[in-house]
Amino acid sequence: MTQTTVKPSLALGTLHTGRLPIPELIALVVGLGCFFAFPSNLGFMTEIVIMILLVLSLDLLLGYTGIASLGQAAMFGGGAYCAGLFALHIHNDPLLGLIMAALFGGLMAGVSGLLFLRAHGLSFIILTIAFGSLTFAVANQLNWLTGGDDGLYGYIMAPLFGAFEFDFFGRTGFLYSLGILLVVFYGLRRLVNSPFGLSAQGIREDRQRMTSLGFPVYRVMLMIYIIAGAIAGIAGALSAQTIQVVGLQSLSFTMSAEALVMLILGGTGRLYGAVIGTVVFMVVHHYAADLDPSTWMLVIGLMLIAVVLFLPKGMVQLVDMTRNKVSRLNGGAGHDNSK
């Protein structure tokens, strides 16, 4: 896709002048196609869209900056509770709530990142797990505020743009989430190809070298961590707004871990890898559980083992293999697959 062919000198903002946002258009067409093809699965498809956002935020961290985190659910759940509480006590406009959740997710990431990003590798992962457990425990303890185990409920969202009710079929919910996903995806695509994004990729490749080149490595990583936190917050807010209940599980370790599994399944370091991984994981899960509600986990397990064994770089490797074949046929130079 486009990001691998972009030249390093490309500045933020040049991508959209004179060029159509092809990937977003494709996603829009596919999304709308699914909207019409599966009108009875809109709830499930909204779940997928929201999960894609969370996995994208993780891809920005792990795939583009080399920061492995197992605590992304902290920001997801934080955003979800923020949006839920905002709707319950202050204002129930969805977009306003979304902005608040993005800010809150960013804030959580900013505060924790300031501290955690001093650590590297394994110790960083452990800190993110600890942060996740901490937020989980806090939400559980603040029973009066969050509803604890019962979940946060009882708020009703105002119609989107004052016109579109959140209906029972989930039409508004799906189109709203899809729209937000496209905006975030476009923003991310510009971000990772901007000089800032490329310096993040530099940090992923060789952190020490970037430091000695004089890049403000810590600052770049903190910025990326905050942006990823805000995106996770947005995903959480969408979940809170379309389901109208926030449960403690939105902050759970399982949530963080599943997001990471989906990312690795799809392939890190490509935005569309996050999309493919999430879609494949959730669709297989859904249909396997449909066929056999008690032993579907076996199918998921086998699929993961197969992918890790045969496609160690994730499902994007399939895309690469076909593309390399094509470019070899054309006598092209091939692509750098390490990204």
């Binding site: 019409f36 009875s40 019962d150 979940s239 449960g247």
Partner: protein, 389 residues
């Protein structure tokens, strides 16, 4: 936009019309854990529903009743909502059932309000659930419903001071709060309230603390499974049992865990609405049907919740003669009373939760040498003490 919206609405509407037109089968979507750590619930539910269908037939006045199971393996509102939506829109179910965890029930409340789908809760025990939708009916119990009678029993039996030990999560806190309120209001003394992290496995320190306060009894609430085993073990290991402290609980000695608890469970006193050893014809028939289908089957509160849930669904289908009339269906079970395996029970007309006896039980060995919850006292017709309109 307008055109597309109407088209979809027409397509969906017409497809749902087709299903109503040929509805000689009524479908019931059951959302329950079928995989993972809580899959026991799914097994208990499906065995009990199967037992009900074996006893009462698979159809009501010619309308066949089909149960469709969906795996909802833990508290997950998003999954609950999307599964419920698919069941309603795609599979055309007329009733929903199951629901082990409270947030999952809350998540479907807006859906069933809009689609008018009567929903029978087999387990989730938070009082406030049935407030969120008029289409909710519950056949389990609520935590205050069983905690308050235990407090009253204690007061009537010369227990003046209690230490409460509960797992620190929603249901544990609900149980603690309603017990303490009742116990103190009637003149008892709660010496200390201890909340233990949900994932604790070593209860020695908590028991020592409780023992050092010399209470007449401890009141405990824990989720089932391994934590309960070590908790009960710690109760006797730390000398509380020997010192004559009474163990008061609710579901700690539930039948799925009971044999594993072993001798350390002997003498524990619990107050709950169902015991497998309940002495009635209905219960013996229920347990026998369960064991005929699977010799290893065990009846516990989850089974009886699903069994009575199936009864409520059958009654709703009977009252509406298989037509889709959700309001009439719900009205038909408001105030419905019958003889359940647990004893007499009634669905309250206002809050659509059971009014039922709470039995005081003591763990004993029966003639075959198995541990049972032997019922020795009954507090009749307990309402939902936690209902708060």
């Amino acid at each position: 936009m307008k055109v597309t919206k109407t088209t979809i609405a027409t397509v969906i509407l017409s497809s749902s019309l087709i299903t109503t037109a040929v509805a000689d089968t009524i479908k019931v979507g059951v959302l329950t854990p079928m995989s993972g750590p809580f899959s026991d619930y799914g097994q208990q539910f499906s065995q009990a529903i199967e037992a009900y269908q074996t006893q009462h037939g698979r159809s009501v006045n010619g309308t066949e009743i089909e149960f469709i199971y969906k795996d909802l393996s833990g508290p997950n509102p998003a999954r609950a909502r999307s599964l419920a939506q698919e069941l309603i829109v795609r599979d055309g179910v007329d009733y929903l059932a199951g629901f082990v965890f409270t947030p999952n029930a809350f998540a479907v409340a807006p859906l069933i309000n809009q689609a008018k789908v009567p929903t029978v809760i087999f387990n989730a025990a938070t009082s406030a659930i049935t407030k969120e939708s008029d289409y909710f009916v519950r056949t389990s119990y609520t935590l205050p419903q069983v905690s308050v009678p235990v407090a009253r029993y204690a007061l009537d039996n010369d227990i003046e001071s209690v230490v409460t030990l509960v797992s620190d999560y929603g249901p544990g806190i609900d149980a603690e709060v309603s017990f303490v309120e009742e116990f103190e209001a009637k003149g008892g003394t709660v010496v200390e309230t201890i909340r233990m992290p949900l994932d604790s496995t070593d209860f020695g320190p908590y028991m020592q603390r409780a023992g050092s306060l010399n209470p007449d009894a401890i009141y405990a609430f824990l989720p089932g499974g391994p934590p309960t085993y070590s908790f009960v073990q710690a109760f006797s290991d730390n000398g509380l049992k020997e010192a004559g402290v009474t163990f008061l609980g609710t579901a700690e000695t539930q039948e799925l865990d009971l044999q594993t608890l072993g001798d350390s469970a002997l003498g524990l006193v619990t107050g709950f609405h169902y015991s497998e050893a309940h002495d009635s014809e209905t219960n013996r028939a229920f347990v026998k049907t369960l064991k005929d289908a699977d010799a290893d089957a065990v009846a516990n509160w989850a089974s009886v919740g699903a069994y009575d849930g199936a009864h409520v669904i059958y009654e709703m289908v009977r009252a509406t003669e298989g037509r889709k009339d959700p309001d009439a269906a719900i009205d038909a079970v408001r105030g419905l009373s019958w003889e359940s395996p647990r004893g007499p029970m009634e669905i309250d007309a206002t809050y659509r939760s059971p009014i039922q006896n709470v039995y005081m039980r003591r763990v004993e060995r029966n003639d075959e040498g198995n541990l049972v919850n032997f019922e020795f006292d009954v507090l009749s017709d307990q309402p939902d003490h936690g209902w708060n309109p």
